[in-house]
Symmetry: C2
Subunit: 211 residues, 2 copies
């Protein structure tokens, strides 16, 4: 199964989420075109992705929901789970914590960091908030592998450096500032402003076409 395309990885995560819902509803099998419909993609794409992970459905019955959930888990999850920290307990940081709260998943948010003394020492939705100064210690003690960067833009670069020094393995940067990391740290950046500008562009385009 060598190298899965990046896009396939993303879709697998989404398939699993959709499948979990189906499973809860008691659906035991699902067709590729049903999955496709939910995700707004084509059935071929779904089948191709599943082919890449070596999963085989049943002709005329589709895919076994439970089996597929488990297989996707084997592929994308770490066996023992991974610990995650949120750096920056502002609105965005808290939003992320709430997203995850209660989800039994292999990914667990175990710590938050902030500079605000009012937040440090408290717990938010079950996640303890520490001082950024203690990052190296906390990361080590809790075996934290991934950091989600949700600090104000001005602090993004310095904070990313701290994370790297603390020995983090992956960074998800939600600030609008690109950061630099050594190549052994996996970096994913996502910029909400860019996405909104993109939507705006296509809305504009559509309005222009109408004229």
């Amino acid at each position: 199964m060598k190298h899965l395309p990046h896009k396939t990885i993303e879709r697998l995560s989404q398939y699993r989420r959709a499948l979990l819902l189906c499973h809860e509803k008691g659906k035991s099998h699902i067709y590729s075109h049903e999955i496709a419909k939910i995700q707004h993609i084509t059935a071929v794409q779904v089948r191709r992705d599943l082919m890449l992970i070596g999963y085989t459905g049943t002709l005329r019955k589709g895919y076994n929901v439970k089996e597929l959930i488990d297989l996707i888990g084997i592929i994308i999850d770490s066996e023992d789970g991974l610990h995650v920290a949120i750096i920056g307990m502002g609105n965005l940081g808290r939003a992320l914590i709430n997203y995850f709260a209660g989800k039994r998943s292999k990914l667990k948010i175990v710590a938050g960091f902030d500079t605000n003394p009012d937040k440090i020492g408290n717990t938010m939705s079950g996640v303890p908030c520490y001082s950024i100064e203690d990052m190296a210690k906390i990361v080590l003690e809790n075996d934290i592998k991934i950091g989600i960067l949700t600090v104000p833009a001005d602090h993004a670069i310095a904070t990313a450096d701290l994370l790297v020094k603390a020995g983090i393995k992956g960074i998800l940067n939600y600030t609008p500032k690109p950061v630099n990391v050594p190549k052994e740290v996996y970096l994913e950046e996502y910029d909400m402003i860019t996405t909104l500008e993109k939507v705006a562009f296509y809305v504009k385009l559509q309005e222009m076409d109408e004229e």
Copy 2:
């Protein structure tokens, strides 16, 4: 200049942001490799994107920062700007409002919507919060073109339907639930859980490679 690739649109938005910073610092020209460095991409890619929008730099001097900012604006912005609404004034919604607060941009968040009576009628970071029931009216009155969906997952689909009925032209869905819209509405979905799972996957992969 016909059809710009999707990825190019995204990068243009990012280039502009980087360029604005350079401009503030008084830098008048910039090389393709400087832009590339900031965005973690190659210089060829930058040049290719600029070629696609028909911008020409100066040999040995690079690109004129101000000119390029303006040109990108002409391409991706709507001339008169676009009004945006946030649907769901929770942590994520407020985070987005704060991101945009103070930015003089062609995109303006002019309204927020929520179901919580404590929030309705108040203003958050300058953005008035209305009842979701008044959506159609407010969208029309304020000429709102884009809606950012930040409601709880369970309400995503129903709220998206409301937005469509209200006549919105583009939806940016930040809930983990895919929604359906008619084809004349531009839809962009972004799922934080998927992104985090992707980071986790590549961190796992890296750890496995080390062994």
